[in-house]
């Protein structure tokens, strides 16, 4: 697992670069997930988002997710980059790329990665609506850290 497979960046993410990181001769499938800034959420309009991270820990937790994936889906390669700072509509907040010899694992592992990011990676999103601002967190869901976190 190369260290730079997992990054927190303050600049726009270049998707092609993330894809390159997982490209290899054994792979027949590469899936990517791009989380983009959506304008409307439950009838409320977003003007921009602001992401903050506990950077060093976030990189460690992204790497942990990669390791969890490689244990569960052997022979996958994973790269994840999350952007922080101010993002406007349609900008890319996160890119997850997974390569695998066959497609099923690439889809499953990719979806697993985004679910885990939302559970354990110390990154926070502040919505700037047209009528206010809020730090988002799943305060309503009591199981914010399932699957053994913290250990």
């Amino acid at each position: 697992m190369k260290e730079d497979m997992y990054e927190i960046l303050e600049e726009p993410i270049q998707v092609e670069k993330i894809i390159e990181k997982v490209t290899r001769r054994k792979a027949g499938a590469i899936t990517t997930f791009l989380g983009t800034v959506r304008e409307w959420t439950d009838g409320r309009r977003t003007i921009f988002l602001e992401y903050q991270a506990y950077k060093t820990m976030a990189v460690k937790k992204l790497a942990q997710i990669g390791k969890e994936i490689q244990e569960r889906w052997p022979d996958t390669e994973v790269a994840i980059t999350h952007r922080i700072g101010k993002l406007t509509i349609s900008e890319i907040a996160v890119v997850i790329a997974v390569s695998s010899p066959h497609r099923k694992a690439a889809y499953e592992a990719n979806e697993f990665a985004i679910e885990r990011i939302k559970q354990i990676v110390p990154i926070w999103k502040k919505e700037h609506w047209d009528d206010g601002e809020t730090w988002i967190g799943d305060q309503l869901e009591q199981n914010a850290y399932p699957n053994g976190e913290p250990s």
């Binding site: 992401y51 903050q52 991270a53 506990y54 460690k60 999350h82 990154i123 999103k125 967190g137 250990s151």
Partner: protein, 77 residues
Amino acid sequence: MITVLFFAQLQEAIGKDRLIMEESGITITELKGKLKMEYAIPQLDHVMTAVNEEYALPTDTVSSGDIVAFIPPVSGG
């Protein structure tokens, strides 16, 4: 000496991203108690804690040199 880091809504509530506290050998629960006496941060009851970049339990003890971070519910992705 313990470094305490704050993020997101906690950082805004306290008005700082970090504090240096002259403590050692206290549990996270005790540390939270001391902070609540000094700052109006009721949210502290509902956040996770990381010690040296790993999630920790309320009963874990922190020592001089440790970096403690309070982790509000995350919302990356």
